[in-house]
Subunit: 112 residues, 4 copies
């Protein structure tokens, strides 16, 4: 079994052992992702540009793991292949951000 | 090559073609995750419990893909194996949420 | 002096006593609002519809106070009158959400 | 009538004209604050330190107005005086962040 399927199985096992599926509707999973993303951002709050890579690596791991865990559970709930949806999004973004226009600029596609 | 490595390679290629690495410091990547998470949550805003699974599947795919893309890029920047950090987090959570105490309740570990 | 001006003065005094203005650029103030908003949302995470008004009132007060404090400081930094910008937004929203179309529905203006 | 009470009255009138109170439970109001906060943050995404004050002022006004509107509605729903809760929070923060320890540093209170 590949590593992705294996870790999703672990997540589901953990959830089922605790009978938490009843709480994991899509709205609450999305909210959980958001809350974990904010905890990740807290690591960088008030930090100057030169301090930005100088963070607590353990907390980075934990917050990223939380964001990914809830994202994988939400994907699994909707039978989405996470790698396929990313590949598809990259293809769409290539149309919105053609290399010749987007190179070296952080502008949004509607401002290019 | 496994699917994870392949999609991360695609993400990096897309970024490098546009010379966007200069914008992708950890603070901005974390901020991007947060903003995409909010766009995901917008799909559920004002929705009643019974409507919560009844959402625009295309937008769900796109927002999840965005969250995962920036999360994978942040992990890659810090040389983190996303599957390892999730497995490690599950192990830690098992200590914070023992089955006999956490079963069937959504309480936080410090309230169990 | 009105209550708004008074509380903004308190916020500025608190900030200046600690020499924190150096950290309060607009990007970090916006990020702080977001992080406090996530802490507010955590009060409601995993809650079912019937439990949603049944929350820790002290934490509600604290999180709302934090969101408002950073919002007032950001407004003050840009010389914005918070009451004027809200009134203006209400006028704009009245055009986007005319009563006859928007009554009783939670749809976004571009779907009305 | 003071400006705060007047604008809250406008917000309630706008909401009631559209029969939107049914959607405005505390959980959804909190979620709305979070989503508007993310839209505010989008103004700063990928911005370097020197560009951070150089933003679209109209969008700043709109996003701040949205955050404040939903915050005021949530406060009103719970009969909270927004100025009192901020003053109270400032007092609590003064204990957590004594001037002599907190001056000139962005550390969190538990790291001081």
């Amino acid at each position: 079994m590949d590593k992705y399927s294996k870790v999703v199985e672990e997540l589901i096992q953990f959830r089922n052992d605790r009978e938490w599926e009843q709480f994991h509707d899509s709205k609450n999973l999305a909210l959980a992702i958001s809350i974990e993303a904010a905890e990740l951002n807290e690591l960088f709050l008030w930090k100057k540009e030169e301090e930005v890579e100088n963070i607590n690596k353990d907390r980075l791991k934990e917050e990223l793991a939380d964001i990914l865990s809830f994202s994988f559970l939400l994907a699994e709930k909707h039978n989405l292949d996470v790698f396929d949806i990313i590949s598809e999004k990259i293809k769409n973004n290539a149309l919105k951000y053609p290399v010749d226009k987007a190179k070296g600029t952080a502008k949004k596609y509607n401002e290019l």
